[in-house]
Amino acid sequence: MREILQITSFLFLPLVSFIILIFWGKRFKSHSSTLALGLIGLMVLNSIILFIHTLSHPHHWPLEQSFEWFSTGNLSISLGYYVDNITSIMLMVVSLIGFLVHLYSTEYMKGDPRYSRYFAFLGIFIFSMNGILLADSLIMMYIFWELVGLSSFLLIGFWFEKDKPPLAANKAFLTNRVGDIGMFIGIMILYFNVGSFNINGIINGVGAMNPALLTVAGLLVFMGAVGKSAQFPLHIWLPDAMEGPTPVSALIHAATMVAAGVYMTFRIFPFLTPEALSIVAIVGAITAFGAAIIAITRNDIKAVLAYSTISQLGYMIMALGVGAHQAALFHLVTHAMFKACLFLCSGSVIHAMHHSLHDLNDNDTDPQDMRNMGGLKDKMPITHATMLVSTLAIAGVPFFSGFLSKDAILAGTLSYHHMHHGWTILLPLAGFGAAMITAFYMFRLIFKTFYGKPNNHDIYKHIHESPYVMSIPLMVLSFLSLAFIFTLNLNPLHGHGWFTHLIGHVKHVAGLDMHLVEDGIHHAHNLAMYISLLVATLGIVISVLFYYLKKVDVEKVSNFFNIVGLYSLSKNKFYIEKIYNTILYKPFFMQTKMASFIDWNIYDQKIVDAWGWITLKISKYSAISDYSILDQKIIDGTSHLVQYISSKLRKTQSGIIQNYLLGVLAVLVITIIVINQI
């Protein structure tokens, strides 16, 4: 019982926060944040307790419990939880970052008229996210999957009085739905071939399934992750989602919600066949590399981070695809920390820019555009320091967590290529290439924002560092981006520690020999490390050259790359939006208009109403024939005949009695004669 209470509190605490703040939030006003912080704080404590329990009692795991939701006789759907090491790690990540974001938002969102509703929405988001983490069955995961989509919709569109946020929110929800369709079909295929929705049940039961069908089912379920984790080709919603408040971007679009796709893929990893996995890897690689290229040409600070997120998620997916599942989860956690930190730092900068522009009564300049920044490091030291730490982490510099996790992934790609040869060389190429580009554009961001001379002196004058409520989360997160947190080992090159040990091994049941995979990764480890060090250094050096020392003319380089159109491709995000618009959106809406036209104007008005028209015509003709022929000619004709005869007969009625008498007499005489004859 105590266990059930402890686990379900991860769901109930944020849900209670949501319910109270949605209905009675107006009464709390600015104390809403206190309530929310309190409840989420409790949740963080709970997660820490759970986590410590995980570390100290490895044999109690996993915890699972299932409650029947409803049953129709043969079909029974149950909801329950399944908590193992991974779950407790993820729960702590979500709780911690959730708490820090709550704290940060108390200052960032201060003065917003819908303050309480913001925290309510954060509550329902954490509720849904925990639901995904705790889910023991794919159906339960799907339910919370969609609820997370709802929370994301509410949060992205939070400032709905503006034009863009609602459109962005719609885009996010609908793009996710596309992925959800695939996920649902995959769930159905698995259910009818294995007999269960339960993840462990499926893992144990797929042995008997047709491998081709299993590949398809696995890929379909993976489609949900493609949507949720913004993989190509469903990545389009994430950059637009930056319309939401920055803490929201930090929480859901960097650290947690988008990670749900990776988590889900991790959970279904045991039954993804090698063919499915290769496609997963390709998707991840394309995403990682493509997004990195686009990030180079972004000017909005949040846009850079958004594409960076997409790229890093690509890494995680690619890792799962090549079998390096530990690396994927490792990177998920490290990325959550440093990406959340990056977003919150950028939020700090944007917050300062906002205040500065407000002081200047300037409503036109974009506070998020890096071209309006520059040289902020002296004015915002804490933000600068924490952002630098996180950037070093994401760039893959030793002593920072990102180096370890990225290194592990790249080792995985190398090992994969070593095993499969051929086209798979593209995977490590994409991985290392993206690593270099990541280092490049992240430092570009740092240099453009914090270094050099301020681009706009007026704005610069009014910049202040953010208050402690906002800086403390930054400091905590940047601290968590250090390498030794995850290895408890000061050796920067040592990748394995308590954390990787905790993730443990996964039993693969669809044809992948995990021993081979893990051996391969182990062997490729050193090579990967050297190449990634090289690549990161290259990236940073080039960035320093371009943006810090300003030794190279950026214009000339862009034009050079543009000879083969590369620069434009990056600038225009590979024209994906335009392509989707012409191939998908426009024709689709045209089709719906046509469908409506066909249905109403043609089918209903012409064909269905035609029956009415025919009936009316027939009835008109029958009325005509009834009247003019039947009534006028036949019936009235009879009376005309009678009238005619009577007019002729009337002439005998002369009115002269003697004529009548004569008639009588004549007839009498004739009668007598005739009778006498007979």
Binding site: K651, T652, S654, G655, I656, Q658, L661, L665
Partner: protein, 102 residues
């Protein structure tokens, strides 16, 4: 006379004269006179047949007295009608009484 034919001839002649009068005379009173002639011819017929018909009873004679009475009554009524007709159309010319003309 020993046989009936002369009486019958007389009554036929009278009957024809009466019919002629009814059919051709314009004056209503003259028509009445014709009617009287018809009635009286019928009377002669009744009496003649009774005399020459081997009857025990005197039905014919009695009947002709009925007819005389009736003729008188009818003449009175008819004349009353003619007076009314005169009052309505101002003449006793039956050709002028053609309200019932079809």
């Amino acid at each position: 006379m020993d046989y009936i034919q002369p009486y019958l001839m007389l009554s036929s002649i009278l009957f024809s004269m009466g019919i002629y009068a009814v059919i051709t005379r314009k004056n209503a009173v003259a028509i009445l006179m014709g009617i009287e002639l018809i009635l009286n011819s019928a009377n002669i017929n009744f009496i003649a047949f009774n005399r020459f018909g081997n009857f025990n009873t005197l039905d014919g004679h009695v009947f002709s007295i009925f007819v005389i009475v009736l003729a008188a009554a009818e003449a009175a009524v008819a004349l009353a009608i003619i007076i009314n007709l005169f009052k309505n159309i101002g003449t006793v010319d039956v050709d002028q009484a053609r309200e019932m003309k079809g």
